[in-house]
Symmetry: C2
Subunit: 452 residues, 2 copies
Amino acid sequence: MTNPLLLPELREMLAENDVEGMQEFCTTLHPARAADFAEGLGVQEIWRILDHAEPERRAEIFHYFEPEKQVEIIETIDLDLISPLVADLAPDDRVDILKDVDKAVVDELVPRLPADERRDFVRLRAYPEGTAGAVMTTDFARLSDDMTVSQALDEVRKQAKEKETIYYVFVVDQEDHLQGLVSLRQLVLADSDQQIENVMKRGLVTVSVTDDQEDVARKLARFDFLAIPVVDDEDRLAGIVTHDDVIDVVIEEATEDAHRIGAVEPLREGYLQTSLYTLTWKRLAWLVLFFLGALITALVMREHEPPSVVLVWFMLFVPLVISSGGNSGNQSASLIITALTTGDITRRDWSRVVVRELIMGLLLGGVLALLGFFSSWLIVAEMVPNPAVTALVVGSTILLVVLCGTLTGSILPLVFHRLGWDPALMSNAFVACIIDIVGIVIYLYVASLLLG
Amino acid sequence: MTNPLLLPELREMLAENDVEGMQEFCTTLHPARAADFAEGLGVQEIWRILDHAEPERRAEIFHYFEPEKQVEIIETIDLDLISPLVADLAPDDRVDILKDVDKAVVDELVPRLPADERRDFVRLRAYPEGTAGAVMTTDFARLSDDMTVSQALDEVRKQAKEKETIYYVFVVDQEDHLQGLVSLRQLVLADSDQQIENVMKRGLVTVSVTDDQEDVARKLARFDFLAIPVVDDEDRLAGIVTHDDVIDVVIEEATEDAHRIGAVEPLREGYLQTSLYTLTWKRLAWLVLFFLGALITALVMREHEPPSVVLVWFMLFVPLVISSGGNSGNQSASLIITALTTGDITRRDWSRVVVRELIMGLLLGGVLALLGFFSSWLIVAEMVPNPAVTALVVGSTILLVVLCGTLTGSILPLVFHRLGWDPALMSNAFVACIIDIVGIVIYLYVASLLLG
């Protein structure tokens, strides 16, 4: 989040080449703050300031820049200067950022990384986006189980510098199979000559490299972990997902869901960072689809035109009928989609959900039908000879359409979930589009039935 | 999340009074797992099993039960038996749970708590829901700055048992003013005779007890903290909010937003745990409101009835026109609401947002208007003498309605945010309701203008 507050001071430091000032800027502030303040500068200016930070601190500040800025810096600055910085990034961040960097630059950059980082990069890059493998870090502290607590503490001190967290230390055997976990809390509290195998927790909750990042987030949140171990298909410890990455995943997934429910293809970047060109495509595809749906409504109405005596009042209540169904359907869809996302309902609850939404449809539809009955009577009282029939048509149509809405809004997200699709694809516009067509058909059918 | 897998075994243990088995059940599993497995039992059965756990472990397992189960246990079990358990809960959890317990029970229970816990409870209860004060815990480790690292480690070991985290230790002066922070990582890595004041981080990012929990979550997520200190209005350290509570806040707020956007008043409990009675009220209020909005649409149409020669084709395109506007408006609202929630846009970006949505409205509206022009021409080709005029009415109406949709969908959430309301109140149904009315008026106006 760009903060222009210090821009004039930073520009002055650069103009005067105030080395001490730039060093202080890099070291005193929290790296996230420093990134926010420097974000407004040009790439070359940013690099001149970062040049005055220790390599480790430089990587920390860099980590907090907006993704587009990071990409721009890597693509602009000389590769010999930038490669040590890329080497210092956390392995999961490195993969994330380089995904958006020009392929030619990446191909030149990767051979300049130290062998360890290069291997890590190639391995992590292989995991598809959205899986545990793609969000995990390989920088975790590890021990073997034949140590004492004091030996373990010495070992952790040795590893600390390059590890993302040392609060959870994982105990593995010779082949990297996960044996257990000791927290730094346990190490600090235990007697120093105790054996690690007697202190560590066994039977850990783990996730697999191919698990969906949403499941990883759900497990970590449920168990209040600081990090959750990720194992590969041969049950070896491949990495860990830490609490801060999980918060990012939760926010990312919630934003994605909200966009999908609003019928926008999820954006890769922030709203203001996304170009109008991209935004147009992410919105237009869905709009055109639902436009075609609405054309079907028009065609249905053309084919089943009501007799001209009822045409006027029939038309009056078209928006009322379809919006009642659409709104109640959207309520059901929102409730079911969030309940599926938070793990609040699962596949086994299918029948309970349908029964509940059937009852809700009857209750809500019943109340709205009564309201519709009386209000339509009043509205057409002086227009038609027999307003009671009109009122009956409108009332019964509303009941049926609302019932249809709650059932469509609840069943379709369940079906999507069952098929392995994102239930949030069942957007509000999608529900509305279906209910528009179905609602008009019901309305026409009820009208022709009651009017003979 | 109830897991019925072990229910038969648990019932057998209870029937045979298998003390060893129950003890093992309580100690071996992660407390969250144990709670999931025991959730399906009756309250008395659960209590008989928990009775075989150490008091601390009992509180841990209890923490993971669903809120309704926790309330039921506290209201059912003898107060002398339950009060030590309530005393062992984390202070923030205690306040959360007791909020839902019968007031008479709470009044009897609170005097049985140890003096410290009682004071904490009364203080924390005073903070309104949704503030930092209401989610913070008061169980944090603290030090004064005149210690050496090895003295500090000894002190942390002493405090560890009753603290929620010892990974962040807060340094305070005599009056509890926050001086700085040392992490356990720093303590373990620093020389043991260094002074704390030379090791600790100063100038911490803090939040105030009255800050919105969403802001707290945003800060912790931005800075990748394990916990964030909460200060009162006299700048004294009142508590900390930990990473696990922040994940819960993020999930809770995302769910609340999704419900609001779907026009459902946020639920306090899960979908399946909420009674149909409550669910009806949380949905009906909004449905009736938007029903009344749709009535206005009907009244507008009655007052401005188009001439009977155009009535048929006019009616055909009512759903098409209003759904195009509603869908594009919903897209804008979803984008702006999520961007406001994630802090991606702020008040200063107001004018940029409006300009972008104006351009988007022209682009999207332009494409849909062209589609509308040609498709309406085809549909009415054999119905009216001059289909080109019809096509022109439909096309220009769509352009104006979509423009209206993107502007309404973007400006209203910004206005809500400015007024201090939740922008998510600008639900999809709300946008659709406004666009229904405005859309019909535009449609009627354009038709009468072009038809002379």
